[in-house]
Amino acid sequence: MSIMEVSTLTTIAFWAASAMTLGFAAIVVTQRDVFRAAIALAGSFLGVGILYFILSAEFVGVVQILVYVGAISVLMAFAVMFIQDIASGSRPSQGRIVGAVVAVLIFAALAFTAYNTNWSTMDEITDPVAVAALTEGYVEIGEGNEMTIVTTAPESSTDVVIENDGVFVDSTSALGVSLIREYMLAFEIIGLLLVASLIGGLMLMRDPPQRDESEQETGGASV
């Protein structure tokens, strides 16, 4: 099945994008100047977006670039600009050795698990309709619970016929439909969550209310 085979160029592109991502991530965690770390983080996000394109997830890749590189990186750079102290840099704390050991252990555990698991592959899918639905294209005939999936459209059919690309060829429409049908509740909750974070951010950024002299020594920001 052609979905598991990747061409040589794809492999080269994958390793190049991974090198970019991991290189910029290393700059983020070691760089002393915080603004440079923020720009390197944006580069790392861009590398991750390219990785998504290589993994046949175009819509997720574009959303990654839009949200992470276009918005979250700008937010971080703003935070760096507004807080003047950190222009002097971020000194690594005493946890460096312990942190490095922990990171290496985490990496070793995850890599060990990945290599020793018996992953089921896409080659185990035998149904030709399923194979076509993932790689080439499929046709939906009918409506509601009577819908059937076939690989070629029948010539004379009075039912509703929708032709789709393979799910890994063009994932956007399938993703949209599944967000609205299977994941509707989660979709609405995400909307609610974003509104809550918007209001929470605004509340936290209000000017602190005026206090008496005696209370000012306690410090602390309260809402």
């Binding site: 890599a111 899918i125 936290l204």
Partner: protein
């Protein structure tokens, strides 16, 4: 590019993020490393969706549209995690500003004491 290679990259990104969270002193760099960890996890999820067959397509039942769409579960996970990370980054920076207003620095060692 096998699934193990993608898992390796995801694990490396997660480990780098973990190192950053533990060993950096500025709160903003800690938040940046947290975002790296998010990204590492999501790469793994998308790789699962790409390389591992969906259970609904493996059983012998006739293929339905819902079964085809279940192959994209990793992508849906990625979108939701991206949205949550965006909201969380906004709130995290509001907290950073609040901390900067209270104590004049953003180093995590300066916030090590409780109030009073």
């Amino acid at each position: 590019m096998t699934i193990e290679n993608v898992q390796l990259v995801s694990a490396a990104l997660f480990a780098l993020g973990a190192y950053g969270v533990v060993s950096r002193r500025s709160l903003i760099t800690v938040i940046m490393s947290l975002e790296l960890m998010f990204n590492g996890v999501v790469i793994a999820a998308v790789a699962f969706s790409r390389f591992t067959p969906a259970a609904a397509l493996m059983s012998g039942d006739p293929v339905t549209a819902e079964a085809i769409r279940s192959a994209l579960t990793g992508h849906v996970f990625a979108i939701f995690v991206t949205a949550v990370a965006a909201g969380e980054a906004a709130l995290a920076f509001a907290l950073v500003f609040a901390m900067y207003r209270a104590t004049e620095s953003v180093e995590i060692t300066d916030a090590a004491e409780m109030k009073n």
